[in-house]
C-alpha cells in the first residue's frame, strides 16, 4: 500500500496505484476542490502540486505521487498562495468558478518559480488551464496584482 502526504497529512491509498491521482483525491480522500474537466490533461481543472510543481492529476497515475507531498486547493498555505487567492477575490475573477481551483494552482506555481512574471510568462504558464467563461483578462490582472503584493 502506498502513502502520499496530502496537504501535510500522510494518507494511505486504498485504490489501485494505477488509478489516476484525480479520482483518488476526489473519491477516496474526499477533496472535491480539484475538478474533472477533460481526463486527458487538456484543460487543467485538475491541477495540483506534487512537491510544489503543478501536475495534471487526471493523467498522472497515483503511484507517481507515492512518498511525495501533494497539495490541493484545500491545502494552500504559502504566502504566494494567499496573495493569489486574495487577488482573485479582490478582482472578482471567477464566473462559473469550476476551473478556478486549477487556475489558482497554476498561478501559485508560476509565482513560486517567477515572482515577477511578464504577460508572456503568464501566457506560457497558464495556457494549459482552460476557462470557458474566458476570465483570462482578469486572471492576468490578478497574477500581476498578487506578484505586486508579494514584492511590495
Amino acid at each position: 500500500m502506498l502513502n502520499i502526504k496530502v496537504n501535510g497529512e500522510t494518507r494511505e491509498v486504498e485504490s489501485d496505484p494505477s488509478t489516476p491521482l484525480l479520482w483518488v483525491i476526489r473519491d477516496e480522500f474526499g477533496l472535491t476542490g480539484t475538478k474533472y474537466g477533460c481526463g486527458v490533461a487538456q484543460c487543467g481543472a485538475c491541477t495540483v502540486h506534487v512537491d510544489g510543481k503543478p501536475m495534471r492529476s487526471c493523467s498522472a497515475p497515483t503511484y507517481m505521487a507515492a512518498g511525495r507531498e501533494l497539495t490541493t486547493i484545500e491545502g494552500l498555505q504559502s504566502a504566494a498562495a494567499k496573495a493569489v487567492q486574495q487577488a482573485w477575490i479582490d478582482l472578482d475573477v471567477v464566473q462559473c468558478g469550476y476551473c478556478q481551483s486549477g487556475q489558482i494552482m497554476s498561478a501559485v506555481a508560476l509565482l513560486a518559480a517567477t515572482p515577477k512574471p511578464s504577460d508572456e510568462d503568464i501566457d506560457n504558464a497558464m495556457a494549459g488551464n482552460i476557462c470557458r467563461c474566458a476570465t483570462y483578462h482578469r486572471i492576468r490582472a490578478a497574477i500581476h496584482r498578487a506578484a505586486g503584493s508579494l514584492t511590495a
Binding site: 477533460c38 484543460c43 471567477v94 470557458r132 474566458a134 483570462y136
Partner: protein, 742 residues
Amino acid sequence: MRIFEDGNIGTAIDGSTASTRDGLNRRDFLKSGAAAGFVLALQLPLGNKAMAAAPAASGFAPNAFIRIAPDSTVTFVIKHHEMGQGSTTGLATILAEELDCDWAKVKTEYAPADTPTYKNLAFGAQGTGGSTAIANSWPQMRQAGATARAMLVSAAAQKWKVKPEQIQVSAGVISGPAGQKAAFGDVAAAAAKLPVPKDVPLKDPKNFVLVGKQQTRRVDSIAKCTGKAMYTMDVKLPGMLTAVIARPPAFGAQLKSFDDSAAKAVPGVKFVVKVPEGVAVVATGTWAALQGRKALKLDWDGGAAALSTEAMFADYRKRVGGAGAASVTRSEQTASGLKSAAKSVDAVYEFPYLAHAAMEPMNCVAWLHDGIIETWGGHQFPTFDQNFAAQAAGLPPEKVKLNTLVSGGSFGRRANAWSDFTVEAVNVAKAISTLPGGKVPVRVQQTREDDMRGGLYRPQYIHAVKVGLGSDGHIAGWQHTVVGQSIMAGGPMASLIKDGVDETSVEGVWPTPYALSNATVDLYSPEQPVRPLWWRSVGHTHTAFVMETLMDELAGLARQDAVAWRLNLLKEQPRLAGVLKLAAEKGGWGKTLPKGKAQGVACHFSFNTYVAQVVEVSLKPDGSPRVERVTVAVDCGVPVNPDQIAAQMEGCVGFGLAAALYGEIEIEQGKVKQGNYHEYKVLRIPDMPVVEVHIVPSTEAPTGVGEPGVPPLAPAVANALAKLTGQRVRRLPFARHKFTQA
C-alpha cells in the same frame, strides 16, 4: 398556447389576456423589437409547488425571497440559476438595495422547484435563460426588499413609539429620532407579526447605495477561490454510487446486444443496467465506473451512417430558392431593386454545429427514496427538470424534489427542453432501485467526450444573401435566405413556431434595427437526427455575423466609413447608435495604426441590450488572426453591478472569439469527430485580447448582459481581417482559412 400565472396552460387565449396575466408575452417582445430565445409556451403541467416547504422561519420571512434571522443574518432566496453569469450577486444587490441591509451579512440560497412562486416573469416557467434574470426580477426584487424594509421600520416605530417617517435605515442599522438603534434581528420577531403592506414605495434611484456602484462584490468569489463551492460533481451522499453510460457511437444507433460479464468483474462495479440512453455501469467510484464501461462488449447498429456535416452544407445550399420556404418578411420591391442595382453583394455564409463545452461536463445525482425522487444538479430550468424527472420516474411532479446547485458553466446547455442530464440520472436510479442494494443515490457523470459527442448543438446554418445598392448608394433590394434546424421544433416550445418560422433561426436578421426597406427573408428548417439547442446568444450567433459583415461590405461599396454608414441606417435607433458612437470614440475608430494591424467594428441589438465593439487585429506568423484589443460599449439600462457587466462583456468577447477562431463540430458517417478540447479548440489565455468596457449611464429598466456581448465579436474581427488581408470570411471558423496581409 399561453401560460397562466397559476402555472396552468390555456389554449385559445388572445394575446392581450395573456399579456395581462404573464407580464410579457411573445407579441410584446416582438413589438419591442426584442428577440428572446427563451419565451416559452409549455405543454407541461406547471402548477407544481415545491415538494417541501421552505424551512420554517424562526425569524422574519415577509415573502418568498427574504428571511431575516434573530442574529440579523439576511438570507436571500435566489430564483435564478448561477452558471457564472453573476445573477446571484445581481439579485442580491437589488434586494439589499431596497432592504438597506448590511451587505456583509447577506447569505444566498437557491430556490426549490416551485413554479408559481419562483417563475421567471418573462416566461411564466421557472427557469433561467435569454439574458432575463435581472430584467424580469428588477421590479419584483425591489418590491420584495422595500416591503420587508417597511415592515422592519413599522416594528421599530411601534417599539420606540415614533412615526415610521422618523426612522432611518442604513446598512442594516435602524435608527430612531432620539438616537435609538436596532439591528434587523432585534425587531424581526415583531415585524413578522405585522400585516404585509401592499405597494410600498420604492427608493428614488438617486439614493441608491449599491445599485450602479462598484462595492458589491460577487457573493461566490471566496467559495470558488478556495475549492469550497459545491457543484453537482462534488455531491457526497451516504452510499452514493457513480455511473457512466455507454452511449451510441453514432446518431440514431441502436444497441443490438451487449455482454457485461467483463464489466461486472471490474473491482468496484456494482451494477450494469440498460437504460434508454445506453448501458449504465454503476460503481463505487468514477474510475471503477469508467473501467467497467471500457470492459463492456457492445454491438450497435450503424445508425444514421449517411449523416455528414459537409453533405448537410451541400444539401442546405441546394434548398435555397426551392420549395418549402417559410416567409419571414416579403417586399414586392426586392426583385426589381436587385435587378436595377448598380452594385451588389451575392454571398453564401456557412456556420458549423457548435458544442457548449462547459467546463463541468453534464451530470446529475438522483435518488429514489421514501416514495419520492430527489435530484441534485445544475437545474437551469426547474419547471422542465421537475416534470421530465417525474415522467421518467413514473411519479407525479409533486413527488420530485430538486436541489439546485451552482453549475460549472452552461451557455445554454443546461437549459434544454428535454432535461437530458436529469432524466438519465433518474433512469439509472430507477433501474438500480429494484436490485438488491440499489436503493441508493447515484451520480450519472458524462465524460468530456460523452458531453461533446452527444448532440444538443448550436445548429449548422447557411445564409444566402443578395443585396443591391442603387447608384446613389441606397439599399435597393435585400434578398435573404436562412437554412438550418429549428431549435424549438419537436419540443415543448414548438407551439411558438408561427407559420413555419422559428424566430430563433432569424432573430438578428429580421426584425432588424437597420432601416431596410425592400427586404425579403425566407427560412428553411430541415430536420436532422442531431438535436439542436440554444447556445449563448442563440440565433444572433450567426445572424449578427451575416448582417454586420454585410454592413461593412456595403459601406465599402458605397465608399463610406463603416461607422458613418451604419449610423445613417440607425437614425431611429438612438440607443444602438449611441453604443456605436461610444465604442468608436473610446476605441479610437479611424486612428492610424502601425502596419500589420487593422480595426474592425460591429454593433448588435439582442436580448433588449445594445452592444458595439471595435477590435484591433493583426496576424500571427502562421497567418492566423490575433485579436489584440476589444473596446466594448454596452447599453443595458440601469447598470445594477457595473463590474459584473464588465465581466460578462469580457467573457462574451472570449466566448465569441473561441467560436470565431476555432469552433466547429464535424460529423462523418453519423459520428462526431471532435471529442475533447484538443479537437474542439476553445480559447486559451494567449488568445485573450485586452478588453475595455464602457457602460452607457441609463435610467431605463435593466436588461441582460449574459449573451449580448457575443454576437458583435466575430463580425468585428472578420471586418478587421477583410481590411488587413482583403479576404472576406464566409465560412466559420477562421481556422479554416489562411490569411495573408494585403
